[in-house]
Symmetry: none
């Protein structure tokens, strides 16, 4: 079974937005053992959408369209689909009631323009979208499947997860596929590949190892396919355990866990409270930690000390420290941890101060210089990073590094 993604929208073709939906969908298809033939973007033009559907159906069995389902004039995906199938449009009352309720809940008035979103090609199976006003649609045609979803990422993801993937799973009849993913941080893809070189050679034909690198992290994913699901799971468990043994010093979790979730589990298990004192990351570490549901059980708060004044007044960093060593120094991040332990009243605190760029660098401390510290009342660990020139990447990498540093400290 092959799939074909068709993102619809002029905004993609003029490069105003990056189509990140396709990569996400591709990942999901891959996890379900469906290979992707092509993703082909198309503009908001009726004839071109119809042609794209025709081409996609000639190339693959499952067509996944995103975008062009809004209430405005340039949203014409539905009409193009109806014309492709040569069917009429019918008004879907259920969708209208849902839209009315949706707006009632938001306390905002429903507009007549939303009625546009209730007209569907007669051959559509309507897929309820609990995240927005535009429903998804499912079509079956000559043994092939066509799905249309909104382009808003969280709406598309909701529909994929709750409506589309379950239906696709029921349709396809490939040998069961299963995965085991090891999550690592603190080393690169090539270092891991070197460590796992011999292990990879021992993998049977039906098991494949993929390296999925992301800023500061690498996921190691074992994928297996076998007609006997029990046998497959036993084999995968065995090989995943073997692999974990080899790279264990870098492993922080499994499957879909995140660093911040793992930190939460450790903090809860050890009954420790945590907080941060952030300068250059500007709250990025706190935001990751609080993105975990229930994080209020162990996360108390943070001081975002962007200015010298806040570092001095709340975190009690000494004026002489700032003057002699500067805000980006081991001495400052150490005092920031002490100040955070006191002011936030936490068991463990993490601090970070750095120069993220593009401005602010000097010969001695170029852009990308970052100091981190993590400590409790008894001990303190510090680390210096030397990163690149891009503000956003420097911040993102530092947040991941800091979380891993906190995790390792909590484990000791």
């Amino acid at each position: 079974m092959q799939a074909f993604i068709v993102p619809v929208g002029d905004e993609i073709l003029i490069g105003q937005i990056t189509d990140s939906n396709s990569a996400w969908i591709a990942q999901q298809l891959n996890l379900h053992g469906i290979s992707l033939r092509h993703a082909m973007s198309v503009g908001d033009k009726h004839e071109e959408i119809v042609e794209a559907i025709d081409f996609a159906l000639s190339q693959a069995d499952i067509i996944l369209m995103t975008g062009g389902l809004g209430p405005t004039k340039d949203d014409i995906t539905k009409k193009a689909i109806a014309d492709f199938f040569n069917v009429e449009m019918t008004f879907h009352d259920e969708t209208w009631s849902r839209i009315v309720r949706f707006f009632e809940k938001l306390g905002r008035p429903v507009r007549d323009s939303h009625k546009v979103q209730c007209w569907m090609p007669t051959n559509a199976t309507v897929l309820t979208n609990k995240m927005g006003t535009a429903p998804g649609m499912w079509f079956e045609h000559d043994g092939k499947i066509l799905v249309s979803m909104p382009g808003v990422p969280h709406e598309m993801k909701y529909l994929m997860e709750y409506e589309v993937l379950p239906r696709l799973k029921a349709k396809i009849q490939a040998a069961p596929i299963a995965h085991r993913t090891l999550l690592t941080a603190g080393t690169g893809e090539s270092e891991l590949a070197l460590l796992l070189d011999t292990f990879e050679d021992t993998l049977p034909e039906n098991l494949k190892l993929a390296y999925l690198p992301n800023l500061g992290q690498v996921r190691l994913r074992l994928t297996g396919r076998h007609h006997d699901e029990n046998e497959l799971n036993t084999l995968l468990d065995e090989k995943a355990a073997e692999m974990e043994q080899i790279v264990q010093e870098f492993v922080f979790g499994h499957d879909t866990e995140t660093l911040e979730e793992v930190i939460g589990k450790i903090a809860k298990a050890k009954n420790l409270t945590i907080g941060t004192a952030e300068s250059c990351t500007g709250g990025g570490i706190a935001q990751k930690l609080t993105s975990v549901p229930g994080s209020s059980a162990y996360f108390e708060g943070s001081i975002i000390a962007y200015s010298y004044a806040v570092k001095r007044n709340i975190l009690k960093v000494k004026d002489t420290t700032l003057q002699v060593h500067g805000a980006v120094s081991e001495a400052t991040v150490t005092e920031m941890v002490s100040g955070a332990l006191d002011s936030l009243g936490v068991d463990v605190a993490l601090s970070v101060s750095g120069i993220m760029g593009p401005g602010g660098g000097t010969d001695e401390k170029p852009v990308g210089t970052v100091w981190l510290a993590v400590g409790n009342k008894e001990r303190m660990e510090t680390h210096q990073l030397k990163l690149g020139r891009t503000r956003a990447l420097n911040t993102e990498y530092t947040v991941v590094f800091a979380l891993n540093m906190l995790r390792k400290f909590l484990l000791q």
Copy 2:
């Protein structure tokens, strides 16, 4: 003249990387008045690459391929192009000398495997790549153009800027295209469409309005095409101003600005310092504000007060307030602003406290209940949001809403 982008690589089709090259190329083409017909990703399979080239040439005049030019086994773009054109490969001595010099400069040994990168289809015009080892290639065929570039973003960008776009500019003679984008926050796509309904009908044939919604924001983009660039710009300026007049209460910026950048500009112009006191957003607002280069000029810091203790001890929220009204209340966010003004020593402070879910909701205060306040020593504004059930979305929406609330307060 129409273009067609063909990103090559299995890593795109399994969703391992997001193809951000296509959006960048699309922007460049658009700026040069070349419209993009499709971008269609293809895997590292010889037959599929050949088919994709064939299809692309049937659809457009300019084919831009990225990726598959590396020194490893799965890099087969060149061979596929040669086979498509039915030509042989020849060794390009100049490229080899350049690769040798490239590695000498890096102080690293040249590998024999890099010789692979010197074999080119005989009909290729070689495009020198000063950023890496894989050259680009330019082909002309039946009045159409095919270009192949490496997939590494900075190498592709170098080749586009210095080799491909200058050549394309010399070839094409299309009417110039231009855009004006209004950025809005605080209302939805359908409300804007209602306000702009009459305006849209007054647009001439060569002007098009697109609604580009994102969580809490909608971009309104006017696109025009006309052979006389001056006339086009005058028309666009006029229509954009007309449109801004109609929806002005929601407009926060233009073109590629962000809310946080606009806030920075206002704060700098008014010489005001700002800070935040965040509970449920956990630092998300501070992180946005500090993502702007140079934000240290006006952003002092934040108190992330996740626990009652931090709200009491640092922000001086009264114990009775927390007990009588709860942490998610107008009274608490008001006191949080006062506390932030004092402890951070800022001119304007913003605070937020809410229940992001999935847990923590009650009948009286369900998940999605959020209180915000913004104030200075003289005045205070508060607002209550009633959002949905998804933690990540609630947080993201609240951050955007809070930034817009701060922006409006700063403007007064």
